[in-house]
Amino acid sequence: MSTRDIVLVALFAALMAALGAFPPLMIPAIAVPITAQSMGPMLAGGILGAKRGALSMLLFVLLVAVGLPLLSGGRGGLGVFAGPTAGFIFGWIAAAAVTGLLVERFWRGLNFVTAFLAASLGGIVVLYGIGIPWISLVGGVPLATAATGSAAFIPGDLIKAGLAAAAIVMVKRAYPMIRPAHGRP
């Protein structure tokens, strides 16, 4: 890892904290707060690629663990990881990795559709694939029960995947990070 890679990893961990400071959007129809923070793993993976994206999420989780109140709503500290929904926090690391891997795969002809596919497979399918079994395991409830309880967040996450996909495509055009647009491979 070059110094530049470390700086990028740290910058995206800090961006994740800034996203947590965004006031959550309330959608009356589903009564579930939509926070900007879960866009972070999709953005980190989709812009920095799998390795740096996942490391930036790991770094962010570490900052929360050492007592910084960086989760949306000002939560933080070790207690967060003892709760039943901790899988959704650890899951950010894998979510960024998978989003990053897919964006790297689609890089040459990346458009909104492929970026949306990458963001929702990583940031929703993989994230829930970790978060739901985690609730089921530590909460002692069947998978289906845990999945039903989590389903209310999916519409909001689809909106975030759309926003993240648009951002990933725009940033690629302005400042490609995964591979230079011209010249050297």
């Binding site: 700086v7 910058l11 039943p84």
Partner: protein, 196 residues
């Protein structure tokens, strides 16, 4: 630098080493999760409550830690009552309360900088496997310094857009902020390399 969740104090818990507290938390958590026993969970919770009192934390601090998990745990209890037995539901509540409060107690009584130092010490054996602990430390300290800077950049971009009569949307805000961060990364990396 942004403030952590540490609450200053002079109790024995405050003075205990970060590494010892983390090891004790790990042991406590493993014990509580490995042994499904109602009396053990109850004793564990009482012990954690006693330690909170020893550290000088009252009911308000306790509730502030439990509130974020209250709704999810309430739903889980309903599911347990429906699918399992009342005693399992009670065990679930006692376990989560004890674990969350024990972990919270470490956070409340240990400075962020002490926890970071403990992590770095804990990682040092991995140096033999090729992990560069110096780079991990650099990443942690950079991120802590970047957090207020990124917030500052976001509000600058927002103000610039408002001044031009554009209403900032999540997308028109996030893209220029990210592009500025990416451009900054080169300058910062050059500055760090020039100094070392």
């Amino acid at each position: 630098m942004i403030g952590g969740l540490y609450r200053a104090g002079d109790s024995r818990l405050h003075r205990a080493g970060a590494g010892i507290k983390l090891a004790a938390l790990l042991f406590f958590g493993t014990l509580l999760l490995a042994v499904s026993s109602l009396p053990l969970a109850a004793i564990g919770l009482l012990a954690v409550l006693a330690l909170h009192a020893l550290a000088g934390f009252g009911p308000r601090v306790l509730w502030a830690q439990l509130r974020p998990i209250a709704v999810v745990v309430a739903v889980l209890v309903l599911a347990q009552l429906w699918l399992a037995t009342p005693s399992e539901a009670v065990l679930l509540v006692l376990r989560f309360a004890a674990l969350v409060l024990a972990a919270g107690l470490v956070t409340l009584t240990t400075r962020t900088s002490d926890l970071v130092a403990a992590i770095e010490r804990g990682l040092s054996p991995l140096a033999r496997l090729g992990l560069d602990v110096g780079k991990v430390s650099l990443a942690i300290s950079l991120a802590i310094r970047f957090i207020p800077a990124v917030g500052q950049i976001a509000s600058e971009v927002r103000e610039a857009q408002l001044a031009r009569g554009r209403r900032p949307s999540p997308l028109t805000l996030v893209v220029p902020v990210i592009v500025r961060l990416l451009k900054m990364a080169d300058e910062i990396a050059d500055a760090i390399d020039a100094r070392s």
